[in-house]
Amino acid sequence: MKNLYRKYRTVALLLLAYAVPVLTRDPYVLHLANMACIFAILTLSLNILTGFTGQFSVGHAAFYGIGAYTSSLLAVKAGAPVWLGFLAAPVVAAVFGILLGLPTLRLRGFYLGVVTLGFGEIMYQVFVNWISLTNGPKGLTGVPAPRIGSIVLDTYGSYYFLSITLLVLTIVVAYRLLYSRVGRALLAIRENETAAEAMGINSTYYKVMAFCVSAALAGMAGALYAHEIMFVSPESFVNAESVSILSMMVVGGIGSIPGSVVGAITLTLVPEYLRSFGDLRLVVYGLAIVLMVIYSPQGIGGWITRVDQYLSGTAIRKPVRGGVERGAA
């Protein structure tokens, strides 16, 4: 039984994830499934920066926005194929990630946090004010749906296959990164930067790399978002969205990959679920977040690890936890 679980858990999860459009045809649910994938990618990307590397960021929505605008502008203004946008979005976002990563040479913890927050504000104002490029607050309409051969991914269901594939790709990236020489260097910087340097790790280089990878993934999520909603405007990339991503990461569990995914799904669905509360919806949402961090400080990721260990009968080594537990916060 336990062997069976260990052998097939990944495959089963994958099958289940890909079967969502088969299990339901409700566009409302499928749209939410798309949004959950987008936010899961965003949360994972933030986790690479904050959970793995210990660099605090409150401006992640900026990279998300950069990706969304890059991809939509290429399609709308330059008439480029959609897939080119999907490639360009992470690249452009990564360039900004490197730019933002450079101040990390000198800044730590919340002081870095405020710089990322400022970056978020600045990018938002650029989206709003650079009207000749972004069309400003009126937004960009007519963002096309991607197509594969003759199939146009213009329904939530068909688009979902793209979303889930990119999410799976992100998860693979996160895992491979984590269990590699690079990932160990990131964790070491998070744990103790002085000691990391003594191990021959160029902490500047790796911190900037973390910013770069994180921004690239967030940028990809931006492209995914733009072509799902088919409309881009600055409101989607305000600091409040950065804060949502941060909450998803913490509720999911800092440093936990499955936690990030589940955290994003949870906080995407909970506000929808709470619609029946009417006026009190966001009050309950706020309360739920408070209760989550009080009663489950390790996040949902902690539960997942425990359940997984129980089912597979192992005390597997996988406690990548900590993040900004010390120092940074």
């Binding site: 990236v173 491979r176 990164l177 590699s180 020489r181 690079v182 990932g183 160990r184 260097a185 964790l187 070491a188 744990e191 103790n192 002085t194 000691a195 990391a196 340097e197 003594a198 191990m199 021959g200 790790i201 160029n202 902490s203 790399m209 990878v213 080594r317 406690p319 990548v320 936890r321 900590g322 537990e325």
Partner: protein
Amino acid sequence: MALLETQGLSISFGGVHAVQGVDLQVEKGEIFTIIGPNGAGKTTFFNLVTGYYKANSGRVIFKGDDITHLAPYHRTKKGIGRSFQVLMLFRDMTVLDNAMVGLHCRLKSNLAGALLRTSATVREEAEGREKVRQLLHFVGLDGKEHEMAKNLSYGQQKRLDIARALATDPEILLLDEPAAGLNTQDLASLTDMIQRIRDRGITVLLIEHKMDLVMSISDRIMVLNFGKKIAEGTPDEVRQNEAVIEAYLGKEE
């Protein structure tokens, strides 16, 4: 040519001369110990050699190259390894990963290799793990690979610290008070371990307070007081040095 050499190395903090004009030559293959009363500038001197502090004046020369202005990680790459007086393990990482981090600058796989999981990367990782297992065996941490570093006993943590430093494949290893806080049994195995490290061809630069340990294993000793070198020589020479007895040994009960 000495393996590690400092020339007139000085640093001051807010007017206090923490290290002042220290000249030092460590020869390949020896165990060289720095002693001195608390606050004599020993750890500061280490930090200058490893690059955590920028010297106000003087030079650090390693294998004939001037490394005074290199960043700490760069010096590690060149072959200067160190352990810490106050433990600086990666507490929330496993023992194996701690040591694997030490291997960092000897591995080559980069971001692309990690993401694509190229065969070179996989091979390198496997070889690295094997190497690290041997090192963990060397310091006596077999079977602890998958423990979290923070869950080890103090003595074990100290050993992990050394294993991690050894993993950087140093030519010279700087050990900052490795014996502090150890019980008698751990102390004995530490003494043995330092000698075995030297037997591997690694030069050892040691800061230590435990005089029995220092006198029994050191080839040469330098004595610092108030940031200045007051004596240097073999254990016997140092033991009989007037200035040392006055400044240091005399006061030590």
